[in-house]
């Protein structure tokens, strides 16, 4: 299954604020423009969208702080889980213990009382060998960005990235911070197999494959760092809020 990450500005006419409220579990604040929106995903999940279409780093920090609060207070048993997205958050719960209406109210209250506090200061370095078979798109990406390969590598490796959230596959980090001139639409036809450790870019984001899986992103190179091990606690190298830097270990033709 393909996973889409798209961050293009939206036409105001398609903004969620124009959509009439549909269900009893959908709450909306009375603020101007589009306020927070909650939508049920079945009986036992709610998607909380604070109401933005452009990536907003401050909002992401606030959502991460909210996710940490939910983790600390509600997730002691495994019936409640929180999934941080990119500028949104999903709560998964047992609807026989917590009614969706009560869960909605709780989320809105939490949001109102959570500040955009930074909860992680950790920086993770990822050594990368750019190009070669594992980075077979590097030449084409450099050319389409109008840059030499060395210049492309310099810009990719000198940027500072931030882990927005983990998802889609075990240990996969969606990273923001890709220099705008390196942004590139994802492939129309995803590759069926991209190897673990491949360093990739897609849309306005960067990432590293934590396992061998299909992907529609572009391949820049490879790293030896292991990103996910189910036997470790925590199993993921990255967590939301981490800063990530790619370190050039080599560039292959």
């Amino acid at each position: 299954m393909d996973v889409q990450i798209l961050e293009k500005p939206q036409d105001a006419s398609s903004d969620a604020g124009d959509i009439p409220s549909m269900r009893s579990t959908e709450h909306r604040s009375h603020a101007l423009n589009s306020g927070p929106r909650l939508t049920a995903a079945g009986a036992g999940a709610l998607l909380f969208d604070p109401g933005t279409r452009l990536f907003d780093a401050v909002m992401q920090t606030r959502l991460l702080a909210m996710a940490k609060r939910i983790d600390a207070t509600l997730c002691a048993n495994d019936t409640t889980e929180v999934v941080l997205g990119v500028n949104n958050l999903m709560l998964v719960f047992n609807p026989l213990e917590l009614h969706p209406n009560d869960a909605s109210e709780m989320l809105l209250k939490l949001w109102e009382t959570t500040d955009a506090e930074v909860v992680s200061e950790r920086t993770i370095e990822i050594p990368v060998i750019y190009g070669g078979a594992a980075g077979e798109d590097l030449n084409a990406l450099s050319a389409s960005a109008g840059l030499s390969v060395d210049e492309y590598v310099r810009r990719h490796s000198e940027a500072t990235y931030s882990v927005a959230c983990i998802g889609s596959m075990p240990g996969f980090a969606y990273m923001t911070g890709l220099p705008p001139e390196l942004a590139v639409p994802r492939r129309k036809v995803p590759r069926m197999k991209v190897d673990e450790g491949t360093v990739i870019v897609g849309g306005t984001q960067a990432g590293v494959m934590p396992c061998t899986a299909p992907s529609g992103w572009h391949l820049l190179g490879r790293t030896d760092r292991r990103l996910f091990d189910p036997q470790n606690s925590p199993p993921c190298l990255f967590e939301p809020g981490n800063t990530v830097r790619f370190i050039v270990k080599g560039v292959e033709a």
Binding site: M1, D2, E7, D11, R23, G42, A45, E81, N87
Partner: protein
């Protein structure tokens, strides 16, 4: 111990699923037909979350290397213990040396072989389910092969009497009638982008059938039917999704995310299949049709409560009948 006699990459150890790790990008996993797993486990006196074998490649053969209680639930299959044919959703005690065969389903797609005590594989991140994406959990993170030997958790013997016994959930006969006609109907609640679809799309979604294409596995099913266009293009930031989510990619042809649903997605969501009905999709074979019936969240909660009550009743009744604690 049981010995697997059939190769089958899609035959997997599954339990009630892996909870608490969505935030690490780790899918729920677990049985595609959670109802069949729960009732099968009840038949052999297990806890509802114990691990069993999910069979989706047939015929499936195993040899018992010790006396063991077992039950086969899920799809409507011919099941034979040596030369004795068993009724559907039936449990009994097998003797060491006996062979069990589960034939290709007459109706349905997946059978569950539950074993008294539960399959003993290491628990990884709180579950014995196989995660195919991460290749961990279950039996070495992979499907079962001929020659694999599965241990079963030791527990005091509580054998079935004679020919054993069976139990069928109230909904099963009408569901099997539906399956015979090649149609499965599931209730859905409108998704976050429901109102972004055209009137025609919303009507088509609720009133026409969608066929399950061969691009169908435990992650999800791609469907084929009337296209579901948006009123205007819509691009979303990546967000959490759950099993049952019905996404519509730019092709207009819906995808239903299932047991190994990606933890995050980005396609517009027209609806979510209610939790109490997801098991039906686990039994819907490629080529069968799905009909979506719109309902609301309160109804989704109520049907889930009814389901939990029914499973508890089945467990209590079986405990009485077999005089198992």
């Amino acid at each position: 111990m049981i010995e697997i006699l059939s190769n089958g990459a899609p035959n997997l150890i599954q339990d009630a699923g892996r909870r608490g790790h969505l935030g690490f990008g780790v899918s729920r996993s677990g049985a595609m037909d959670a109802l069949a797993l729960a009732v099968g486990n009840a038949l052999v006196g297990n806890r509802h979350e114990d691990a069993a074998i999910e069979v989706s490649l047939f015929p499936f053969r195993v040899r018992f290397q010790e006396d063991l209680d077992f039950a086969v639930t899920g799809a409507d299959c011919v099941v034979r213990l040596d030369d004795t044919q068993l009724a559907p959703w039936w449990g009994r005690t097998a003797k060491a040396g006996q062979t069990l065969v589960i034939e290709r389903p007459k109706r349905g797609a997946r059978a569950y072989l539950c074993l008294g005590g539960g399959v003993d594989v290491p628990s990884v991140m709180g579950s014995r389910s196989t995660d195919l994406k991460g290749a961990f959990g279950g039996y070495e993170g992979r499907g079962l092969r001929r020659g694999d030997a599965l241990r079963v958790n030791i527990r005091p013997p509580r054998p079935f009497r004679g020919a054993g016994l069976g139990v069928v959930p109230a909904e099963l006969p009408s569901f099997w009638d539906e399956l015979s006609s090649g149609l499965v109907s599931v209730r859905v609640v409108p998704g976050a982008e429901f109102q972004h679809f055209t009137d025609e799309a919303r009507k088509a979604f609720a009133n026409t059938d969608y066929e399950i294409t061969p691009d169908a596995n435990r992650v999800g099913y791609r469907l084929s039917g009337a296209a579901l266009p948006l009123s205007s293009p819509l691009e979303l930031l990546s967000h959490g999704i759950v099993p049952g989510t019905v996404q519509v990619p730019p092709s207009g042809q819906p995808i239903i995310q299932l047991a190994e649903a990606n933890t995050c997605g980005g396609y517009p969501k027209i609806a979510t299949v209610v939790e109490a009905d997801i098991w039906k999709l686990g039994q819907a074979p490629i080529g069968s049709r799905v009909r979506f019936v719109l309902t609301d969240v309160d109804a989704a909660v109520n049907t889930l409560r009814d389901r939990a009550t029914e499973i508890t009743k089945v467990q209590q009744t079986l405990a009485l009948m077999t005089q198992r604690g």
